[in-house]
């Protein structure tokens, strides 16, 4: 697990409002190539919003976001470029229920990357094997368990060969037995050196793979640190409170 010096994401003085509500306040963050960052924080603190801004799913109103050297502006071309560099996995999988697993995985490569179908299918099978469900390729999402669906969602993102992966609470909608299989997949991905930003409450996962843990509250980054430091020696009162709740459970 090496972190290069190359900058993957750079956020500078970013602010965002929903109407009059100030959700993200003066966010500054630099993520290097190969870094794995876990974002934690109480509900409503703006974690999802932050992640979604990186993918232009939400617009930000102030500040700049540079992803892989491209500035996230209103320019459609830039947005397209960034989206094809950045994969995203959602809490509720958001698989396309009318397409088979394989079609889910090949849809974007074929229509966005203009990959020949054959090649796209090979790639898809490759990643489905990686997430250990190649045998389900011809089923429909509705026929899989939650954990399997989430792994398909990861494979689907990977098929676009992104340089950065964003995860928004990928395990919080899953039954406990299934959480593990998804986390295993993510750990494997991390070991391969993928740049990852992951919103999660799985602290075991954070300890194991993260380079850095970011704690957000009330729309701001309150604390960031290496996992060991963060868990053993939290600085801010809010972090302490949060950790006592999470870990005490």
């Amino acid at each position: 697990m090496q972190v290069s010096d190359e900058v993957a994401i750079e956020i500078n003085g970013m602010n965002k409002w929903y109407g009059a509500f100030h959700v993200l306040r003066d966010i500054n963050l630099t993520v290097n190539q190969g870094e794995r960052i876990v974002i934690a924080g109480p509900s409503g603190s703006g974690k999802s919003t932050l992640i979604r801004c990186l993918n232009a799913l939400e617009e930000h109103q102030q500040g700049t976001i540079m992803v892989d050297g491209t500035e996230l502006s209103n320019d459609l071309k830039n947005i397209d470029k960034i989206r094809s560099e950045v994969g995203m996995v959602f809490q509720h999988f958001n698989l396309f229920p009318h397409l088979t697993i394989l079609e889910n995985c090949t849809l974007a490569p074929i229509w966005v990357r203009k990959t020949p179908r054959k090649e796209a299918e090979e790639t898809a099978m490759h990643f489905l094997e990686k997430v250990k469900i190649p045998e389900q390729a011809l089923k429909y999402p509705g026929q899989l368990s939650g954990g399997q669906q989430q792994r398909v969602a990861i494979a689907r993102s990977l098929c676009m060969r992104p340089r950065i992966m964003l995860f928004d609470e990928p395990t919080s909608a899953l039954d406990p037995e299934m959480i593990k299989e998804v986390l295993d997949t993510m750990i494997e991905l991390a070991e391969e050196g993928m740049t990852m930003l992951c919103v999660t409450h799985e602290m075991g996962f954070a300890r194991q793979v993260a380079n850095r843990v970011i704690f957000m509250d009330a729309g701001q980054i309150v604390e960031q640190n290496e996992p060991e430091e963060f868990f053993n020696n939290p600085q801010s009162e809010r972090t302490k409170l949060f950790l006592s709740q999470i870990l005490g459970h």
């Binding site: 229920p97 020949p116 054959k118 026929q143």
Partner: protein, 422 residues
């Protein structure tokens, strides 16, 4: 006195009819069936007695007699000497015409309004809401009557086109006349026509098929077939290289070139409507009663379809759009590849039941004097012959078969697109 005994078996007791689950359901069903048959027998015997008293035994012979009335809007040739059966047939075709036209426009308007109601533009969304609520909450009969009144009052009468300085003029390079009697548009005439085929001889069901039209259709079918071949080729190309070649100009060429050649060969030209005497002559005439009915039915049904479309799109969770965007799909592609295929499953079944309603509502045509099946068979024919029982029963049968075929299609579709679930 016999020494033989039956093999031991569970002997049947009368009470088992009531208490034993195996017999109980049979008991209930037999009672229900007997009740139903008694009711039916009672009704039929009453009817027979009553009809006898009236001296009108059930018979359908009057269908062969001359109808003696004229029908203004018709697809096939008909005159007042034709039989009642033919009049009914003409009426049926008129019903189908307005139903099909109505379904098409209702769908277009409905989808448009449904999408616009979801628009982020506050004003547009409000205007569409007002439209939907206005139409949904006022009886369709009123809309039909109003549409007719508006057409009659707001469009110019043919006499307004007359004179040196007419109050009204024809539209589109003097080819279309819009009057309060209807719309006159140019039609296609063939100077080297191939003639007609006569089907069913001179019977009530007779109709002529223009060979010119057949030729046009064949060529059109050929072109479409070729176009599909081309797009299949493009798709194959995309599969193998990933790039989809631009083919729309080839397709256009395939579509139009043979058609143009054929039409020239047939000596096709337009017959323009012209004001002669009291009315416009020439061209194709669409009566205002048809237009009013069509307009009112489509606007009314579109209001319902809009709601269905809106609900259908909203039922596809926002997550689907987001996931597609996150994969880099543009909004247009997202709509076509992700949202629509899913929304259609939700939308189509209620949409078809609205088509059904529209078809049934078209029976209100009598309010504006459009001669559909209710106007001919259930209207003038019934009125002039006094054969209420036969006419009403036949009328119901016709509508029932239309409805059943539509719902048959619906069931077939539903079964086909059912989502595979665990």
């Amino acid at each position: 006195m016999t020494t033989l005994t039956d093999p031991p078996k569970e002997h049947f007791r009368l009470s088992m009819l009531l208490y034993d689950t195996r017999y109980r359901s049979a008991t209930i069903q037999v009672i229900a069936l007997i009740g139903f048959m008694l009711l039916a027998a009672w009704i039929i015997s009453n009817t027979i007695q009553n009809l006898e008293a009236l001296g009108k035994p059930v018979e359908f012979g009057f269908f062969g007699e001359a109808a003696s009335y004229d029908i203004n809007q018709r697809l096939l040739e008909y005159n007042s000497r034709d039989s009642h059966l033919r009049a009914a047939f003409i009426g049926l075709l008129n019903t189908l015409v307005v139903a099909v036209l109505g379904c098409i426009t209702a769908t277009i308007i409905g989808v448009l309004v449904g999408v616009l109601r979801l628009s982020k533009n506050w004003l547009v969304a409000r205007v569409m809401t007002v439209y939907v609520e206005m139409f949904r909450n006022v009886p369709v009969l009123l809309w039909i009557v109003l549409a007719m009144a508006i057409l009659i009052e707001s469009l110019p009468a043919p006499r307004a086109f007359r004179g040196d300085e007419p109050e009204a003029t024809m539209k589109l390079f003097d080819s279309v006349a819009i009057t309060n009697r209807g719309v006159y548009v140019p039609d296609f005439l063939f100077s080297r026509s191939l003639g007609d085929i006569h089907l069913f001889g001179t019977s009530s069901l007779r109709f002529d098929i223009s060979l010119d039209l057949v030729a046009v259709l064949i060529v059109l079918a050929g072109s479409i077939f070729a176009m599909r071949k081309v797009s299949a080729f493009a798709a194959a190309k995309q599969e193998s290289t990933g790039d989809r070649p631009t083919i729309w100009y080839i397709q256009l060429g395939i579509l139009f070139a043979p058609m143009v050649i054929l039409l020239t060969a047939l000596g096709c030209h337009l017959g323009y409507p012209e004001l002669t005497g009291f009315n416009f002559k020439g061209g194709t005439h669409m009566r205002n009663s048809l237009i009013a009915l069509w307009l009112a039915l489509s606007l009314y049904t579109a209001a319902f379809i809009a709601e269905i479309v809106r609900a259908g799109i909203m039922a596809i969770s926002k997550g689907q759009t987001e996931a597609a965007s996150a994969l880099g799909l543009r909004p247009g592609r997202t709509m076509r590849l992700v949202i629509l295929p899913q929304a259609l499953r939700v939308i189509i079944p209620p949409m078809i039941s609205n088509y059904l309603n529209l078809t049934k509502n078209s029976s209100l045509a009598i309010a504006v004097g459009y001669m559909d099946i209710t106007g001919t068979l259930g209207g003038i024919t019934m009125n002039q012959t006094g054969r209420e029982l036969e006419c009403v029963l036949l009328l119901m049968l016709v509508y029932l078969s239309i409805s059943l075929s539509i719902s048959g299609v619906m069931n077939w579709y539903n079964n086909r697109v059912k989502l595979v679930e665990r």
